[in-house]
């Protein structure tokens, strides 16, 4: 089933075996309430790693029954992150989620060379799935949070993550637009050059599973009429499922514009580790956190 609205993920997850979430240093209301909601919906099993008395107190304060979780006691945030990662590596969970600890400490636990979740040479990147109000399908894009200025290899990795995410959402041949300032290949603009290279690699079958086109400006990616006016006849134009951003500023601005100006729902995960990792921020809405958990469960 092709997911065209974020809440359709719940339907799909409800019909599958539950995936097991492990939340690191899950001692705050934001994390606990979001996980509780997902557990109650019957789409995941939740393990909270953190200070047990605090977790229980927060549960009671927010009318959550602590018995719906597995609680693993751990006294400090860094230790809790390490323990959560270790549990994943032992096969006790299918995906990871960040609790109250800083992103920095969370990432360090994932990236730890001996005990982390990375295979050698793997590239960690952030993938967002948004439901823009006036677009006819979901938009999957990256990287808005982890890699500031991806080089060609990192862009190829991100492109593959976008395609993989689309596949897990039931989109068989996702259309990927490689964003640049212009559809012309201007060698002095690196985003144009890289997009041309990635597009050609896809033609040669070096990137599989999607239709990749670029460089394209944003209007050509999401608006068919603009593409027609400019004489662009790629099937990607105006019908993209995925967008590769050339740098974090462009991606992050797009993300925040969707959320704040356009009031669109979205969710996100970190890919490239052995399991999907949820990385919500406290600024995210309850709904968005729940979607992020669901997205990770879809990919786990």
């Amino acid at each position: 089933m092709e997911i065209r609205k974020l809440d359709q993920m719940f339907e799909v997850l409800g019909s599958r075996a539950k995936k097991r979430l492990i939340a690191a240093w899950a001692i705050d209301a934001h994390t606990i309430v979001a996980v509780a909601q997902a557990v109650k919906m019957g789409i995941i099993e939740g393990t909270l790693v953190g200070d047990e008395p605090t977790i229980k107190r927060v549960c009671i304060e927010h009318s959550v029954d602590p018995k719906i979780f597995r609680i693993v006691h751990c006294a400090g945030d860094t230790a809790a992150a390490a323990l959560a990662v270790e549990m994943i590596n032992k096969g006790e969970g299918d995906f990871l989620m960040k609790g109250l600890l800083s992103t920095d400490r969370y990432m360090r636990a994932i990236l730890n060379k001996e005990r982390g979740l990375m295979d050698p040479g793997a590239i960690l990147s952030h993938v967002t799935v948004a439901e823009p109000l006036n677009y006819h399908k979901l938009l999957i894009f990256g990287d808005v949070a982890i890699i500031p200025l991806p080089d060609l290899n990192q862009k190829i990795a991100i492109t593959n993550y976008l395609i993989k995410t689309a596949h897990f959402l039931g989109i068989e041949q996702p259309k990927v637009g490689l964003l640049a300032a212009s559809e012309q290949t201007l060698p002095k603009i690196p985003s144009c050059a890289d997009a041309a290279i990635i597009s050609k690699m896809a033609h040669r079958g070096q990137i599989k599973g999607g239709i990749v086109e670029g460089p394209l400006a944003m209007d050509l990616i999401i608006d068919k009429e603009s593409a027609q006016i400019k004489g662009m006849n790629s099937v990607v134009c105006g019908d993209a499922d995925c967008i590769l951003f050339p740098n974090i500023e462009a991606g992050n601005t797009f993300y925040k514009t969707l959320v704040k100006l356009l009031k669109s729902e979205l969710c996100a995960i970190v890919m490239g580790a052995r399991v999907p990792c949820v990385l919500t921020s406290r600024g995210d809405s309850e709904q968005s956190k729940l979607y992020s958990i669901a997205l990770a469960a879809m990919l786990a």
């Binding site: 290949t185 060698p187 050059a193 290279i197 050609k200 040669r204």
Partner: protein
Amino acid sequence: MQKLSEIVAKAKSLGKRVRIAVALAEDTNTIGAIRRAAEEGFAYPILIGDKKRITQLLNEYPIYSGTYEIIDIPDADKATREAVRLVKAGEAEVLMKGLVGTDKFLREVLSKERGLLPPKAVMSYTCALELPGYSKLLLISDTAVLPYPDLEQKIAMVQYSVKMAHALGISNPKVALISATEKVGSGMPNTIDYAQICKMAERGQIKGCTIDGPLDVFLACDPAAGEIKQVESPIAGRADILIFPNLETANAFYKGLMLFAGGELAGLIQGTIKPVVVMSRSESENSKYYCIALSCLMAEDI
């Protein structure tokens, strides 16, 4: 077009004599080739050099039909300078090297004040090969001028070669960007340039041709290879033009074919305001004659 002799026929069909300024026309090879072009009626030679010497050579290789000029400047530097000046002033349409050294000759062509290269223009060399084993002429670049062309220079090579193909009557030439593999990346930086050139063509930034690359020579020139390797390409093994990643590869490719496969060639310098014929002494008189015919076609095209 399959044979270089067809270039001669096409040059003749222009119905005019192209004015060719020859710098130091004092060797038998040059005179031998240029007199044939004059005899066939498509060239008007302006022979610059030591008049006595030139006259002596013309006694051995007389030009019976048509006219020619001799400009008496025995000094090599000055003769070259005059030949370049004639082209720049529009009094001749093709520049040709005679007995003068290539270095000296090109220095004058490249001179900022007196030369023939517009500011920022890329100078490059394209030749047309006649090969017994191929169904048409094969244009290749760059065999002689640019050792390690960068992206911009590669684009110029494509454009010049396409222009030559057009002059030969090939309206939509198939351009193959040659590498050792059809894959992009693979530790070969040229393939990165090629991917960009392909996209530029797709976006209409390069016109008048069909481009694909990276491709190896098999995929470029053997229709069966694409099927075997499962590579879909609009070139489909029928390339008209091969763009090589560097001079060594292009040079070895054509010399190998000349030596082992009985190939013949005609080539010239492009990027200058008019075609420039530079031939090495080792090339056959036939090749030189074809070069002159080709330059006449290209002069017309510009």
